[in-house]
Assembly symmetry: C2
Homo-oligomer: 346 residues x 2
DNA sequence: CTGTTAGCGCGTTCAG
DNA sequence: CTGAACGCGCTAACAG
């Protein structure tokens, strides 16, 4: 394996000249540069990443901490990771995966102290997240996907749940729906302070109430079976229900099953709207589910940019951004049925 | 950040003693070791990964090359990556993601020459894969998930498509099915030499023919729409079809839709068996799909072990293994219908 | 514009 | 059982 001094010797210059030719940190006479480059090419030289990192004190590696990548049908996490990896590559960084659960803050700290990563990306942030404290104590730059309780100025990108929910409700209300239920993630996730669950619920309650409608929301385990049971319970609670918003992909299949078993048509009797979905899930159901899909790829890119802007002072700072989900028409939404006594506002 | 010489000073020993205390490469007097360890603890010392790698010429990093992680509902790839990351951690290795397509062999070579990774894991291997040549030329240890054309002794782990298909067919035949169709991945993947598509097709043809049945297989784009069209075409070609094996998760949803639209019941009229599926997909359909799910987690672990056994001579070598998919009962399989004239063997 | 050289933090001979 | 010292390959002063 050729080293930088092999290149220097072969090009008849000193190692520092080669180094500067590579980094561009100081001007090199064009013809010298040419000789160096051809020497590099003929030797197949690539700078040793470890030596470079040791000397420069920057590893050009970022770490992605994620609890579960293969969870459920979650193409949403997959899409995100893919996007992060690609964006990191574009910026000439490497991406390492740190598969730690939320409660493994100590392991994270130890790895961070080894200085293998210049910065850390944190997925699945909870409202109170000890990992954040550990990283701040270790002075490790980070960016989170999601937000902690105090939405102070910690670097983050996230889904805009409020705006997504607003779009969802407005869309349904525009079609005459008034009795709109919401199926959320599980109660455990809710009480663990899992951001999406908590904030979507808050947005739903607030927006429904503001419009003078009665909120009807349920937590639900991530499974079709539970989704089905919850749907049955919702219909029992409010038989005049005309629409269901779900933020739980697996449960949504249960929603379809329960409605089908009651001979309730979608969207004739009940409209169904999946929010924060992974790409393609809509097409898996019949009729195709209308969705607002999670902007995973965009979040991935933004998260990397947000982190790198801290590592590299030359980069333009990336403000904390909230990205709304995008409505993808399916065939599961229609006008509210009027054959039942659906109360209207005056 | 504490360095090894801080620890040495604090413990009143030399740096080399600390180093040996860490690596265990030579005996240290217990009381000396104690002093060193308490010094490390109170300083929060963690060895600098870059310095260690540079000196030892081993990065303790393995790279995972993967073309697409978020493809479709592919929890299968997600499960695999998750498992690889965890196994690497257990072995005290880091996992970096190299998001390169199959045709980006040069980029792979350049990264490899930077010596950031001690070895490489290759997903989605094709029958003729230039990446393999590049890695061998660069003398970079690797293990592939999948196999090249010449099943010589290259380190690999893979799904046992032949045995999986045998189990699938035997299961259906045991229920009286004789006219069993097979829906594969797309024609492009087939002609690109994508291993799973090619080998599953070969296994299907061979096993059906060996039993004296007529093979009826189709390639199919990975989408419900195409799956539906292909199903229609299959039923037109052989109206007496009683079972369909699919190795295409998205297409399977189309199979269900087409059968439903013809009022053909599952499994009353047609049995459906999904093979090489990701976890949980079975429950997304109604009736729940009987599946043989991809052993993603096990493959991930094995792949890491296979690679590490090459990096660390002390490890016991891991032979190339083929892991069959595991049958997961659903409700989409039943006895072959007999009201039609289904030819039986004598 | 280019060269010399002192580290970066640790592994690992070689002496003791 | 322990220490001193060299080198891994490169970056970045400092010195021309």
């Amino acid at each position: 394996m050729a080293t930088i001094s092999d290149v220097a010797r072969s090009a008849g210059v000193s190692v520092s000249t080669v180094s500067y030719a590579i980094s561009g940190a100081r001007p090199i006479r064009p013809e010298t540069r040419e000789r160096i480059q051809s020497a590099m090419r003929s030797l197949g030289f690539q700078p040793n990443a470890m030596a470079r990192s040791l000397a420069s004190r920057r590893s050009r590696v970022i770490a992605l901490i994620y609890p579960q990548i293969g969870g459920g049908i979650g193409g949403t996490a997959g899409e995100f990771v893919q996007s992060v990896a690609e964006r990191a590559r574009e910026a000439d960084y490497q991406l390492v995966l740190w598969p730690f659960r939320t409660d493994q803050a100590r392991e994270i700290r130890n790895l961070a102290r080894q200085r293998m990563a210049d910065g850390v990306l944190l997925m699945e942030v909870c409202l109170d997240d000890e990992r954040i404290d550990v990283l701040e104590a270790a002075k490790v730059p980070y960016a989170m996907i999601g937000r902690t309780r105090d939405v102070t100025e910690r670097p983050s990108v996230d889904i805009d749940f409020a705006s997504t929910m607003e779009t969802a409700i407005a869309h349904l209300v525009g079609l005459g729906h008034r009795r709109i239920a919401f199926i959320n993630h599980s109660g455990e996730q809710m009480s663990a302070g899992y951001g999406p669950a908590v904030r979507a619920a808050a947005a739903y309650d607030g927006l429904m109430t503001a419009r003078g409608f009665v909120p009807l929301s349920r937590t639900c385990d991530d499974s079709p079976v539970t989704g089905r049971a919850v749907t049955a319970e919702l219909l029992a609670t409010d038989p005049e229900l005309t629409a269901i918003i779900t933020m739980n992909e697996l449960a949504t299949f249960g929603v379809y099953a329960e409605l089908a078993s009651r001979n309730l048509s979608i969207p004739g009797d009940v409209s169904v709207l999946g929010i924060v979905t992974s790409p393609g899930v809509g097409t898996l159901s019949y009729p195709p589910l209308t969705t607002m899909h999670s902007p995973g790829a965009e979040l991935g890119r933004l998260a990397v940019d947000c982190l790198l802007s801290q590592l590299d002072p030359a980069r333009t700072p990336v403000p904390n951004q909230l990205i709304p989900c995008v409505l993808e028409p399916g065939m599961s939404i229609g006008p509210a049925r009027t054959d039942l006594d659906v109360p209207q506002r005056p």
